[in-house]
């Protein structure tokens, strides 16, 4: 009855992510990072984005280096297997290519921020971050007293992303999707957001998705677009579909040491290709083949019979 939400990545980004939006990505930590979506954001030259995410393994560094980002809210930006993020440092320390503001969170508080939003709660109180610099550098946190114990607590305010972009294994045309493996803060991030873009390895018929209604990550009413983009998380891994292409992270780390090196990397891998298929073609079939899981490890079906 609802019309299909399937569209191209270019159309999904153009329609759902305006410049100035707050965008939550990388919610499954080092897995299922929506790189295909991120590269399209760069190609569309979006500006003044607020990026939200826990640790952002390399994707946020790319968006920052490409000049799309005005603000980051999260716990860590860098390259997990190689170290720091050169673009993040340059932007924050020297304003290259443009200055960015940072609102420091920990992995727990970013989860609590989004969880509060899912509950319509103005904030969630926690002891995490007591005694830390976060309470000075991020004005969103408030010090308070727990009226039950009299103890000091930290209030973590609700955070509502304009858009959360999820890379998942499978979805139907209406945005009902299944994600498994590492999930991190994906459920909270998607459910907290005003709108969701679902990027799926596979599009499945509705009846095979709703055959496991407990696994559906987010209500379809939140989903504004569904994009069918195989290998859309590369070089990050996706359980059951492909492993992590760590050498690609290492090479990016080296290439992005200088602004010039990063510009060349961006030209080659993002701006110089038309779409994600172009990126995959450049990676080459041998690289993709090497990342295919060596084993199929199936879960046991659930009987929803009645």
């Amino acid at each position: 009855m609802i019309p299909s939400k399937i569209t191209s990545m270019a159309d999904a980004i153009a329609r759902v992510v305006p410049s100035g939006a707050s965008v939550c990505m990388g919610t499954a930590l080092e897995a299922a990072i929506p790189f295909a979506a991120g590269h399209e954001i760069i190609r569309q030259r979006l500006q003044n984005l607020t990026l939200i995410g826990p640790i952002s393994d390399m994707l946020f560094d790319q968006l920052i280096g490409a000049g799309c980002v005005a603000r980051f809210i999260g716990a860590w930006v860098g390259n997990v297997s190689s170290g720091l993020g050169h673009n993040y440092r340059r932007a924050f320390e020297q304003g290259i290519p443009r200055p960015i503001a940072v609102e420091d969170q920990s992995n727990f508080t970013i989860a609590l921020s989004l969880l509060a939003a899912t509950l319509g709660a103005p904030y969630i109180p926690t002891r995490a971050l007591l005694g830390t610099g976060f309470l000075d550098s991020n004005p969103a946190f408030k010090r308070a007293e727990d009226p039950y114990s009299g103890d000091p607590i930290v209030l973590v305010p609700a955070l509502v992303p304009d858009v959360t972009i999820l890379q998942v294994q499978r979805a139907d045309a209406y945005g009902r999707c299944h994600l498994w493996g590492t999930v991190g803060i994906s459920r909270e991030a998607a459910f907290a957001a005003r709108r969701v873009i679902v990027v799926a390895e596979e599009i499945w018929p509705t009846e095979r998705i709703v055959a496991d209604p407990n696994l559906i990550l987010v209500p379809d009413v939140k989903v504004a677009a569904v994009v069918h983009e195989p290998f859309g998380a590369l070089p990050a891994p996706l359980q059951g579909f492909y492993g992590r292409y760590t050498e690609f992270f290492t090479r990016y780390h080296e290439a992005s040491r200088t602004p010039e090196g990063f510009a060349r990397w961006l030209d080659e891998w993002v701006l110089g290709v038309v779409d994600w298929k172009g990126f995959l073609d450049k990676l080459g079939t041998d690289a993709l083949k090497a990342l295919v899981p060596r084993r199929v490890l199936l879960s046991e079906p659930l009987d929803y019979g009645a």
């Binding site: 080092e30 897995a31 997990v80 727990f108 989860a111 995490a128 498994w180 996706l238 760590t246």
Partner: protein
């Protein structure tokens, strides 16, 4: 016996894991330390990862990140980060590992900003879940390379709180966890005084001395009366570390 600084740090970190410990494993060296402890003195230790994974056994494969697909194979739980941090916040985690770019004599850690956070000299990558571990774990262990400019009298920004200003600071501020119990560096192992909570040198690594450690410490170093040389890695320990990191990605 030939080994690298990092191999020695892994082995020293593994010795901090008690059998049965619920351990927040993290990445890099602590991940190897967990695998080593499991295969030696702590077979019943449990590994928790902040992406939501619980393991009773280390992964069969080398991991570059905690979210690499092999880390799910044989996992006994894979839940949300909120739930996993909830394990911490409920007081169910015995031991965590944290690294840092700067540490001070009370074990406070900085991985955020070098210099004033309003106009820092260096923007570090950030905290991840380290502040949460530092707040809630019953005890935690710091693992980081030792250089004088990183071992400072007072960190310029507290990302992960150690013993604060020392003494009973944690208790007064109602921090539920126990704070740092060891600081394992490239030069030695520090522990924290039961009263003052100041770090003191408990052992220097083979080839180091009190003087070389003092030279690389930016505060007035205290040394345990019974300080001694760190036990040399055994061939068995080294073999396991190298089996877990065959290409030396983390340890060379």
């Amino acid at each position: 016996m030939d080994y690298t600084d990092r191999e020695l740090m892994v082995i020293a970190a593994a010795r901090e894991i008690r059998d049965g410990d619920v351990t927040f494993v993290g990445m890099r060296l602590p991940l190897l330390a967990f695998a080593l402890a499991k295969r030696t003195h702590a077979p019943a230790a449990l590994g928790y990862f902040e992406n939501g994974i619980v393991r009773e056994t280390p992964s069969d494969e080398m991991l570059f990140t905690m979210s690499d697909p092999p880390n799910l194979v044989g996992a006994t739980w894979s839940t949300s980060t909120a739930n996993m941090m909830g394990m911490l916040a409920q007081g169910l985690v015995d031991l965590g590992f944290i690294g840092g770019a700067e540490v001070d004599r009370f074990g406070n850690l900085n991985t955020s900003y070098v210099g004033d956070w309003r106009a820092p000299k260096v923007k570090l990558p950030g905290s991840g879940g380290a502040p949460d571990i530092a707040c809630y774990a019953k005890r935690f262990v710091i693992v980081m390379p030792q250089e004088r400019h990183r071992f400072v009298e007072r960190v310029s920004y507290i990302t992960s709180v150690g013993h604060g200003d020392g003494g009973d600071w944690r208790r007064r501020h109602r921090l539920p966890g126990g704070g740092p119990v060891a600081l394992i560096t490239t030069l030695g192992v520090f522990r924290f005084d039961a009263e003052t909570r100041e770090a003191y040198l408990a052992s220097w690594h083979p080839g180091q001395s009190v003087e070389t450690v003092r030279a690389a410490t930016g505060w007035n170093l205290r040394v345990a009366p019974d300080a001694t040389e760190t036990a040399t890695p055994t061939a068995h320990e080294l073999a396991i570390v190298r089996d877990c990191d065959p290409r030396g990605f983390w340890t060379r």
